[in-house]
């Protein structure tokens, strides 16, 4: 394990930025661990959520933003719901993800690609087109076997359409994305 020099390695701008974007006060966390105690995804995390909170408090930007945990949080809100200090932990995880994206941290590729594919589908069709989403995901990850087994089960149910549903005004949605890209590149 590394020795962390608290004087030199604390990135207080990072702390301030997280607080600002999340609207939460990090010093409220007293490390009781209740978030970790209830986190359904903690088994998949490389750093448990309570330690993400601790590292963030301590301004350990690099350690936090490269953590896989950020990408494996499903925002199930159990940390937020149970925090004795009423910290919106899930929102902090969200904000850290935003920052990780902005700073170019790869995260967990499958998850990130899935989310990107999802949004791509929305941007293009206004709504999520499930088959398109899956195809896009597969082509980006090369995981050809993904859910192939479900095909025979689901297809006969008439749940899967091979064309995106026709929606008027989908260009309005793609405009939202375009303006978002413009705004965030400002």
């Amino acid at each position: 394990m590394n020795v962390i020099n608290l004087t030199s390695s604390c990135n207080s701008d990072f702390v301030r930025q997280v607080e600002e974007e999340s609207g939460q006060q990090l010093s409220l966390c007293y490390q009781c661990g209740k978030c970790t105690a209830g986190c359904p995804y903690t088994t998949e995390y490389d750093i448990p959520v309570s330690q993400i909170m601790r590292l963030t408090q301590a301004g350990q930007k690099e350690l936090v933003l490269k953590s896989k945990s950020l990408w494996l949080c499903a925002t199930c809100e159990s940390c937020t719901a149970r925090c004795p200090n009423k910290i919106d932990v899930a929102r902090i995880m969200d904000v850290l993800r935003h920052m990780a994206r902005r700073e170019g941290y790869g995260g967990v590729k499958t998850v990130k690609t899935f989310w990107d594919s999802f949004l791509h589908s929305v941007q293009k069709n206004g709504r999520v087109f499930e088959v398109g989403l899956l195809a896009n995901y597969i082509s980006h990850t090369g995981r050809f076997w993904t859910d192939m087994g479900l095909g025979p089960k689901v297809l006969p149910k008439g749940k899967i359409h091979f064309k995106p549903s026709a929606m008027q005004g989908k260009e309005e949605v793609s405009k939202i994305f375009r303006r978002y890209t413009e705004e965030s590149s400002k």
Binding site: D88, T110, W115, L150, K159, M167, V173, I176, E183
Partner: protein
């Protein structure tokens, strides 16, 4: 005495695909209860989880577009079956109470974001606006003999400040509806535990573990079926049940109903209009056993 209930209806993307039966059955029971649902014209995706993991303004803008659509209908109350959509719509509304945030959203929308529309889930309007007693009165074929566990999922009630519905740890809305329909409800301790959510595709192993635990516990509590209110939960538990079995070495055959489907059955609607045939885990045996006890009792009386 009662004024008929009218809502703008926001189906959500999965209603056009994997949760088509939720959409069908929601519409069918609302019709049966004289609740008017008018589709939001040209509704679009709320952005779901992926959007808010990218940016809160973008996420809120995608939701806000739909809220504006509702406002343009002249309605102030919107309803959606999907808790994920609801969570996004409500979170957007909550955050837009902050003026500077609302301005940023309006900028993405290129028009002023609406903050007047009230949003609820189908479940919420049924228990809060319509009422359990009135639901009970509509039951034609009680679900006697059916033992279910009610599973709400993680974001139907959380965070409480935003969702503002039922108890955050121990919700009872579906339990109460099921009891009103004549079913037996087992105490299900994992009502609000996460099923694995949208990780079905990128991290199937997570879903196998989490949803598997839900099925194990439901079975242990003696449930014949699980009843859900969330398309994602239902999909993980139903469509992926075989995957779960093979991953965990379990042998579950537990039908996963939408609560609206069971309501429809109790109201005497046809299986077809409720999309019962769209379920992956075959619920035949469970359905066939329905009302047996109750019907025989009625006859003997």
């Amino acid at each position: 005495m009662s004024v008929s209930l009218t809502y703008a209806y926001y189906p959500g993307c999965s209603s056009t695909g994997t949760s088509i039966e939720y959409d069908m059955s929601s519409r069918a029971i609302c019709a049966a209860l004289d609740i008017t649902l008018t589709d939001v014209p040209n509704w679009s995706c709320c952005g779901s989880t992926p959007a808010h993991t990218v940016d809160h303004t973008l996420s809120s803008a995608l939701s806000a577009r739909n809220l504006c659509q509702v406002a343009s209908m002249g309605l102030t109350a919107a309803v959606t079956p999907c808790p994920s959509c609801l969570s996004n719509l409500k979170t957007a509304q909550h955050r837009m109470k902050n003026d500077s945030f609302r301005e940023k959203v309006s900028k993405l929308l290129d028009k002023p974001a609406d903050i007047t529309v009230e949003t609820k889930s189908v479940l919420q309007i049924l228990v809060e606006d319509y009422g359990i007693e009135k639901i009970k009165a509509k039951v034609k074929k009680p679900l006697t003999g059916l033992t279910v566990a009610a599973y709400y999922g993680c974001i139907m009630n959380r965070p409480a400040e935003i969702m503002n519905f039922d108890d955050r740890e121990h919700p009872m809305a579906m339990d109460n509806i099921m009891t009103a329909l004549g079913a037996t409800v087992v105490p299900f301790p994992l009502k609000v535990e996460c099923c694995g959510a949208s990780f079905g595709i990128p991290r199937k192993d997570v879903v196998m573990r989490l949803s598997g635990k839900l099925l194990d516990t439901a079975k242990e509590m003696g449930a014949m079926a699980l009843v859900t209110a969330c398309p994602l939960c239902q999909m993980n538990l139903d469509m992926r049940q075989e995957q779960i079995n093979s991953a965990n070495g379990s042998k579950h055959h537990m039908p996963i109903f939408y609560f609206t489907q069971l309501m429809g059955l109790a109201f005497g609607l046809t299986e077809k209009e409720l999309g019962i045939d769209k379920l992956c885990v075959n619920p035949r045996t469970v359905i066939d056993a329905l009302g047996m006890e109750g019907n025989s009792k009625e006859k003997s009386q």
